[in-house]
């Protein structure tokens, strides 16, 4: 008897040593890259936790659903081992060679309208059954404006747009091809989209913009976003003692993203695929699903209990929903083209292009390439960032002064004309983008006063600006804070901090154009 304890202890120690030995001997996991929608950033720590347990190096790269989808087209290269867009329809529409396998939904994310609570109160929506036509009514009477991502660049925007389109058609259960030819439907939807106050290419960034608006005083009314992102936003707003968003689930139907995680077979072997399968199983096991449900996401039947309903914000992931059936892919394509070319609020975009001396050589040729892309309708149409007839484009090349200003509409001939002028540019001289931005604002003024357009100033630069920010800030403030400034950096010597300051001041964003100026300009197009 007296020997029993030491013997079992010895067994335990031996077992422990064996386990430790095995763990030490087990090979580190693979380098693994996931291409994901920005709405999944809250779940990324769970992915990293799994990767750490396997000693694997995991990289999550965030892109919009359309970008992920385009990378899956035959001939495209997603440069990733897994894709995790917001909805599987994007995979199905573009991955025609079926390179993505083992697709499973990780969570369900309805796209709903979050309305500032006091605004919802004023609209009589607290505790009420709200239909999409009520939202339309509020927009038409000028009582409601909202933030929404670009329908052609981001899934949440596409989902909100398709739900509005279906409601506009008057039979919210389904959009069919012929519906998109009816003038009255187009008029209704155009009316709804007039409510777009700001747009973006990313749902996560849009939520940040909403909160930033509380700080800067922009104070937006509402935003279309995923139920879970509205919850995350509310958590932060409430922590800062700011007013939360009240969740509106349109009674006649919402769109739902199914957050599919799928494996991209790049021939990296069995181990990488087995790693993916284990990662997916980890995310789908009950314990992880319970943690995912705690973020406000809806999870599969029987996996975990949904978050409790919150009467103050009306958020209720357990609430049954009527779901708008996604239309056929051909109808979606047609609807998205229609959005970009005819229905969205037209954009008013001023492009400040740096042609200072430091841009000579590679910089100059990359800039001209980017302009060829931006003003060639066939190329922009491929990635759904084409200009529409109603858009206004202002080009202002600058060095230490603005070389010239050209204003044009978005039709094909006007674009060709702008391109012709731009291609003659040659780099020379110093850098002053503050003056360029101020001149851009002045040139935009007549259009701004009509309040038809969604404005943006885009500054592309490779250097540090001379002059002072106040050159732009003062006129921007006296204009009423209406125009956000976006930056596109190029080259190693670009001083990002100056652009960051402008973007923070105005509610814009800075994009890195070092790898590809064309890609950066394309991304900016999703923001106005």
């Amino acid at each position: 008897m007296s020997l029993a304890v030491p013997r079992s202890a010895a067994k335990f120690v031996a077992g422990l040593l064996l386990a430790l030995g095995l763990a030490a001997c087990s090979a580190p996991g693979p380098q693994f890259t996931i291409l994901s929608g920005s709405e999944n950033d809250v779940l990324a720590p769970m992915v990293q936790e799994f990767c750490a347990s396997r000693q694997a190096t995991c990289t999550v790269r965030y892109q919009g659903s359309l970008d992920i989808a385009l990378a899956l087209k035959p001939g495209g290269d997603p440069d990733a081992d897994a894709v995790w867009p917001a909805a599987s329809i994007w995979i199905d529409m573009y991955d025609t060679a079926r390179r993505v396998k083992s697709v499973k939904s990780i969570a369900q994310m309805p796209v709903i309208l979050g309305v500032r609570r006091s605004e919802a109160q004023a609209l009589g929506w607290i505790g009420a059954k709200v239909k999409t036509k009520d939202i339309l009514g509020a927009v038409e009477s000028g009582k409601l404006r909202f933030l929404m991502t670009s329908a052609t660049q981001s899934n949440s925007g596409a989902a909100a747009y398709l739900a509005m389109l279906a409601a506009g058609i008057g039979k919210p259960d389904l959009i069919e091809s012929g519906d998109l030819d009816k003038p009255e439907v187009l008029a209704t939807v155009r009316g709804l989209l007039r409510g777009v106050q700001r747009s973006s290419g990313s749902s996560g960034w849009l939520a940040d913009l909403y909160r930033e608006g509380e700080r800067t005083g922009a104070k937006y009314d509402a935003m279309w976003n995923y139920e879970a992102v509205i919850k995350e936003t509310n958590d932060k707003l409430i922590a800062n003692h700011q007013e939360p968003l009240y969740a509106i689930y349109p009674e006649d139907g919402v769109s739902v993203g199914d957050s599919p995680l799928g494996f991209v077979d790049r021939g990296r072997g069995k181990e990488v695929e087995a790693f993916f399968n284990d990662l997916q199983a980890f995310l789908l096991k009950n314990e992880t699903q319970a943690r995912i449900a705690a973020t406000g996401r809806r999870v599969e039947l029987g996996r975990a209990a949904p978050l409790k309903a919150d009467p103050a914000t009306n958020l209720d992931p357990g609430r049954p929903l009527t779901v708008v059936r996604p239309p056929e892919p051909a109808v979606i394509q047609k609807a998205l083209a229609l959005y970009q070319e005819a229905l969205r609020r037209p954009s008013l975009t001023a492009l400040c292009l740096d042609v200072s001396g430091s841009m000579q050589g590679n910089g100059e040729s990359q800039l001209l390439d980017a302009m060829r892309f931006l003003f060639t309708p066939a190329r922009t149409r491929e990635v759904l960032v084409q200009w529409s007839r109603e858009d206004q484009i202002i080009v202002l090349p600058f060095s230490d002064h603005v070389l010239w200003t050209a204003t044009a509409g978005g039709d094909d001939a006007a674009q060709a004309d702008l391109l012709g002028k731009t291609l003659k540019l040659r780099a020379d001289g110093g850098t002053d983008f503050y003056t360029c931005a101020a001149r851009a604002l002045a040139a935009m003024k007549p259009f701004l006063d009509r309040e038809q357009h969604l404005p943006a100033i885009v500054i592309m630069t490779d250097g540090k600006s001379q002059g002072a920010m106040s050159t732009f800030e003062m006129p921007w403030r006296s204009d009423g804070h209406r125009v956000p400034v976006f930056g596109v950096t190029f080259g190693d010597s670009a001083d990002r901090s100056q652009l960051d300051n402008l973007a923070t001041l105005t509610g814009g964003r800075v994009f890195d154009g070092t790898k590809s100026l064309t890609q950066a300009f394309r991304a900016v197009r999703g923001y106005n």
């Binding site: 025609t96 079926r98 499973k104 919210p172 259960d173 199914d258 077979d265 599969e300 029987g302 009527t322």
Partner: protein, 370 residues
């Protein structure tokens, strides 16, 4: 010990004969071959509904250890895998669609078939939710079949859909819009393909033939147009149904085995669903229905032995016990699971054959241009 040259020569000859004989024997007996040497890797496409079976560790282990086979099976729609060049150009060694008609379609797409054989059978069913099924029963569209299982008068449901009736009108309250049944894309996946055949036959009053297609193709197209987006694979549609719930997916077309597989994957989850879920999944057996056969097509001779492996008793029993696939003749296996017994109908008598390949292809053409 020294060996004479003669003895060495005889030994060498004997070893070589044994080697050759062994090689020939093993080639003819793949179930033994697996125990020796390198396993053979086979690449091919399989319908999404078989993904769970193919990923099952026990199935993979039997295939590898007993038969020496490792499969790289990618999910693809049953119809697209036998027609789409982008898939066929990847040179799959086997195709595992879900309907016998698709063997003919594969042949007519120029696929060289080494061997084909039906492995499993599974009836086409509708998946819905208890509260919706109760509504359908009250309105006379469905009948309970003892326990939470139902038969549904599919023709009556189809006619209501074609007439544009609302959910409310067919007895289902709380859902907006018009009634619909959603299947997979019939041009890509078999459950949609078979549902198109079944719909056409039901609407025409008999197994549809080429000369009667013109009378009902418009109505079949209406049923499919009402579906909106149709996923390309049955596995994905079923996942959407489970994940989306009654509001998102009130009624879908699927294979009987899909719910069985889902329940068996995690029995505790199923018990939780039965105890707590606001609405519970139910199977509606269409009357009549069609059986989906799952024929394995070996394109490359090296995949012939996969057929023998899959129809071995051990794998067929595993297929029923863990994944709910009925055997080649439509009969269920030996195992009985108490979780499911009250939900399945063991004998299905009212069965319509699927129209033959030329009729089905003509129907698909009309649906894709509708």
């Amino acid at each position: 010990m020294a060996i004479s040259r003669r003895a060495f020569g005889i030994g060498l000859l004997a070893a070589s004969a044994a080697g050759t004989g062994g090689y020939v024997y093993l080639r003819q007996h793949p179930e033994i071959a697996g125990r020796f040497g390198e396993p053979k890797r086979l690449f091919g496409f399989a319908g999404g509904e078989k993904e769970g079976f193919l990923a099952n560790a026990r199935v993979r282990s039997v295939l590898e250890r007993r038969f020496g086979l490792i499969l790289d099976a990618r999910r693809a729609g049953s119809v697209e895998m036998v027609r789409e060049r982008t898939l066929l150009d990847q040179k799959p060694q086997f195709l595992w669609p879900s309907s016998s008609v698709l063997v003919d379609v594969a042949r007519s797409s120029g696929v060289k078939i080494s061997r084909d054989q039906v492995i499993f059978n599974s009836p086409i069913v509708l998946y819905s939710w208890d509260r919706i099924a109760d509504g359908l029963v009250k309105a006379g569209f469905a009948e309970p079949a003892g326990g939470p299982r139902y038969t549904v008068d599919l023709l009556k449901v189809l006619k209501a859909i074609i007439a544009g009736e609302s959910w409310e009108a067919i007895g289902v309250s709380g859902l907006f819009g018009r009634a619909r049944v959603v299947s997979t894309d019939p041009n890509k996946s078999n459950s949609g393909f078979m549902f198109a055949g079944l719909t056409a036959s039901l609407l025409s009053g008999d197994v549809i033939a080429l000369d009667s297609l013109g009378k009902i193709d418009g109505d079949v197209a209406t049923v499919f147009r009402r579906m909106g987006y149709k996923p390309p694979s049955s596995g994905k549609l079923f996942d959407d149904y489970i994940a989306g719930g009654a509001g998102a997916q009130p009624m879908i077309v699927g294979y009987e085995n899909q719910l069985i597989e889902w329940v068996l994957q995690d029995a505790d989850r199923w018990k939780r669903v039965e105890a707590n879920a606001p609405s519970k999944p139910v199977i509606l057996y269409p009357k009549p229905t069609a059986f989906s056969a799952h024929p394995l097509i070996s394109v490359d001779r090296s995949a012939d032995e996969l057929i023998d492996a899959l129809i071995s008793e051990s794998l067929l029993e595993l297929a029923w016990e863990e994944h709910g696939f009925r055997g080649p003749l439509g009969t269920i296996g030996k195992a009985r699971n108490s979780l499911l017994q009250s939900r399945l109908i063991e004998r299905i008598d009212a069965v319509l054959p699927i129209p033959d390949a030329p009729v089905m292809l003509a129907l698909l053409d009309r649906l894709s241009t509708a």
